[in-house]
Amino acid sequence: MQRYALNILFPVAAVVLVVLAQVGWLDRYVLTVVTFIGINCIFAVSLNVVNGYMGEFSCGHGGFMCVGAYAGSLLSVAFFTDSRLFGASLFPPESAPFLFPLVLVGASLAAALFGLIVALPSFNTRDDYLAIITIAANYIIISVVENIDAIGGPRGFSGMKRAVNAMSDVAELPWMLIWTIVGLFVCVATIRRLMTSTYGKGISAVSQNEVAAEMMGINTNRVKIMAFMVSSGLAGLSGALYAHVYGYVNAQSFNILRSTEGLVMVYLGGMGSTSGVLMAAVAFTLLVELLRFVIPWLNDLLHAASLLPASYELSQIWKWVFIPLLLILLMQFRPEGLLGNRELTQVFPRLKRWITFR
């Protein structure tokens, strides 16, 4: 029974969070940060399927998040709201809390479809060329979205707030927090179940010795397609959640920088370790938020100590100097990431008494 501590701990933590949010003990800012941690976790863990388990180097993961964000937004606007784009709502707004999973599934499927398209050229090419293909795919997706005027083009797309409000009208709950927790749970469960099955271990086989995999009866092309589709589909899920949390999407939020953030989280956590990447995603999101406060404080401190010229202010940009530097140092001194290919239970075997992560 103890081994399933995590399976109990997770729902308990989730319920506690939701209750805290419900009674208003979490202020709006904390709530947003917590939700965003969940979204980042999904994003990073999904990227880890390709970059960690399969050992490929995809650097356009933001593109799939973009597809999911737009697909999810369009679906929920069409389903639950009266809009100029789709006319009257397809379903009564009261059905929103029950049919919202449909939106998430639809967004994931749309993103998975794009993953399929990117997977096709990956049959004959590896690392360097695949990097190119994914970067190009990222740019193409953003460019396509920006060229479709009906969904706002470069101005972005909004209207999802009304869908979220439709849910709140039915019951006053922190809906997006709940859906993010559900999404994260589904995401981690999917990957965990996949990677412990013989079917999913085909991904590791392709990564560790592709020739052997091919010769021992594994259809490597199909494995690659599957891994890409799972990875991009889950990224789409994170995108759909993101769009509804913010109530507004813009293609540029999913550009190469977003993809780079994903890479930071994956390599911080150690490729191929879901628990490591989860920890890294939490740490990374918190770090970004923390620096928001630390930088002005540091600025005041340095000015008080006259270490900075009066004309110079330490700006938030420094955040994007510190974080890459952190990763550079990490690569130098602990290149395998926080956990380095191993799950939490393998690093601390005593935890096995409490949790089964693999």
Partner: protein
């Protein structure tokens, strides 16, 4: 027709920038099998170095003439940019390679170095955009209705010259041949009596120096500088290098000009928002049909 020819000239100029950056990617990749993702930002650093050097030289203290400033800025920019590139290799890549780290870790390090360069630049210099002083009197020549500025000609000429020089270096000099030897077989190098580290440093010097020249020429053509100018151009130049067949100097040039040609033509005859879409789609198509690029040699897996 005239419009088309005019756009061809523009494409040649634009392609020269891509080619000059793509060269750095290709040279480093040929020797180290490393995608130096910081290279686009080296180009940006080159443009900024050109700005600081030329501003300093023109400043009242020295008060050099424009011609002298130009003549001095070119070598100074190239040397200083090379130093930046070599420094990156020394402090970030080499220790990792020494430890025999996975190639991906070095690639990620390179990506992060690029971010540090561009954001560090923005953080230090602020958001105010720098403008490169005009170093070249602008002349417009008219060839049967096609307007060509002397600057454009210089850019194209510089790219062609760089190509010839590099081609000579790689095929005729000892160190150049060593570079090619490394790309074939790392273990063959000691046979040539040149230490691997020297070859690597030389490669980074060449690549960064050429990117510095590209940055300076770019800044002369489009004088407003901003820290992210290298990122997008760099990604595209990298794609150009891959389409040409990464590891091959000719490939860098052909890929660069091809990409520029597609971009300029799309922008000229279609809404300019389609530019990236077309450029990237066509390049994907090329890669799909020819996965190793135009000049790339197919690699066969051995069992």
């Amino acid at each position: 027709m005239e419009l088309f020819l005019q756009q061809c000239v523009n494409a040649l100029q634009w392609g020269s920038f891509y080619a000059l950056i793509a060269l750095g990617y290709t040279l480093v990749y040929g020797v180290l099998r490393l995608i130096n993702f910081a290279h686009g930002d080296i180009f940006m650093v080159g443009a900024y170095i050109a700005f600081f050097v030329s501003t300093a030289l023109l400043a009242p203290g020295l008060g050099l003439s424009r011609e002298w400033t130009l003549a001095l800025t070119i070598p100074l920019t190239m040397i200083l940019t090379s130093l930046v590139g070599v420094t990156l290799e020394r402090i970030a890549y080499r220790p990792l390679m020494r430890k025999g780290a996975h190639r991906l870790y070095v690639v990620v390090t390179a990506l992060m170095c690029g971010l540090v360069l561009e954001n560090g630049n923005l953080a230090l210099l602020g958001a105010s955009r720098k403008t490169l002083p005009q170093l070249l009197e602008k002349n417009v020549y008219d060839f049967g209705g096609i307007a060509v500025t002397n600057l454009k000609l210089w850019v194209i000429f510089a790219a062609a010259l760089v190509f010839l020089v590099l081609h000579f270096v790689v095929t005729k000099t000892r160190i150049g041949m060593a570079m090619r030897a490394v790309s074939w077989d790392k273990f063959a190098l000691p046979l040539m009596g040149i230490p691997l580290d020297s070859v690597i440093v030389f490669t980074f010097t060449l690549g960064s120096g050429v990117a510095g020249l590209g940055g300076m020429l770019f800044a002369m053509s489009y004088p407003v500088l901003e820290p992210y100018m290298g990122a997008m151009t760099g990604w595209k130049a990298f794609i150009a290098a891959v389409v040409g067949g990464i590891g091959d100097i000719r490939g860098a040039f052909v890929g660069g000009f091809l990409l520029a040609f597609v971009e300029i033509m799309v922008a000229a005859f279609l809404p300019s928002t389609f530019r990236d879409l077309f450029a990237f789609s066509i390049l994907l198509l090329i890669l799909w049909r020819r996965p190793t690029g135009i000049f790339g040699k197919p690699q066969t897996t051995k069992i």
